[in-house]
Amino acid sequence: MSFLELFLTFFMIGAVTFGGGYAMLPMIQEQVLLRWGHIISPESLINFVAVSESTPGPFAINMATYIGSVVGGQEGGWLLSVFGSFCATMGVVLPSFVVILIVAKCYDKFRESRVIKGCMTGLKPAVVGLIGGAILSVVLTVFFPAGLTWAVFTQVDFYVSLVIFAVMLVLAFKKVHPILLICLSAVLGIAAGYLL
């Protein structure tokens, strides 16, 4: 059952997210934590955003393959893990594939369509708001892993994360390459973990 669920979930994610890349994150976050929250924690999901950013290939494919392999692996050995990845990846690819084939056939109609243009004026800003919402839940995972309590302000981990976040934010806006930025974060994380 979970293989069909993997396929259908990622099919839906692929069918309704516009813009590619991080635009898929809010939907992936919601659906994955809802359905497989007992297997995949919010932390490991964010960890994997980093892995996905530092390996080649589209973000959506990387996330689908990873989640498929973890969920499939839960059912048994590595073979089911591979099959899980396959189902999720097929699911996320298929809607784009079909839609583009249709568009490639009736290209001019599509380009002139006022309905599609109209919908896009709503969808583009929607992605901004949705990613804003996703960022808020990442903020909770990063800074308040044990829930929203005052106690967090007395813990050293909170300030370590805060410093790393601030430094990386500056570097990100200075257009430092994301992979370099992730490596630096890892080094700072390890150094803080052992030194403090």
């Binding site: 309704v16 516009f18 890349g21 991080y22 994150l25 932390e43 960890n47 892995v51 950013e53 530092s54 390996t55 080649p56 290939g57 589209p58 973000f59 959506a60 494919i61 990387n62 990873y66 973890v70 996320v92 690819v93 809607p95 784009s96 594939f97 839609v99 583009i100 568009v103 490639a104 380009r111 243009k117 109209g118 919908c119 004026t121 709503g122 583009k124 800003p125 929607a126 992605v127 901004v128 708001g129 949705l130 990613i131 804003g132 960022i135 903020v139 994360s161 976040f165 934010l169 570097l171 990100a172 806006f173 994301p178 992730i182 974060s185 890892a186 994380g189 390890i190 803080a192 973990g193």
Partner: protein, 186 residues
Amino acid sequence: MKRSAKDLFQIFGAFFKIGAFTFGGGYAMIPLIQKEAVEKHGWVSDDDILEILAIAESTPGPIAINSATFIGYRAAGIFGSVLATLGVVLPSFVIILTLSFVLQQFQELEAVRYAFAGIRAGVLALLCKSLWTLYKKSPKGWPAYVVMACSFVLTAFFDINVLFVIIGCAVFGLITSRYLERRAEK
């Protein structure tokens, strides 16, 4: 649009290369797509690339898949689009599958846990940067700000399915753009 097996193999090979060598996906792939599909093989023209981008933005799914399917179709019909899409997906699929096994073995190690604690803070910074980039590219004006605010509040503070928010925003965009057009005509 009949093509030989050799052409199909070339399409697969070109998109395999594109999938294997671009990090971050999406727009990062454009230069390589341009090099392979325009300069090297002439499947599409430079103008086509711009139009493909515009289409990819207004159709669902990853930009890489959208452009691979489109260019593959232009180059060699249905088979071309299947092979281009398979080519661009396969490298990620294999790499991530391998990494996912490795990661599950090592994620309990102390050093790995510390590293990922740092990395999560770094990812948050990357997400903020990407939010800013998307905001700059998004349309401005009151309907856009209403959509941004509503989609943020609904997903962040209420338990509403993202799917419904997306559909609602598309409908709202359609209605307001029609309304503004009508008013401009009067």
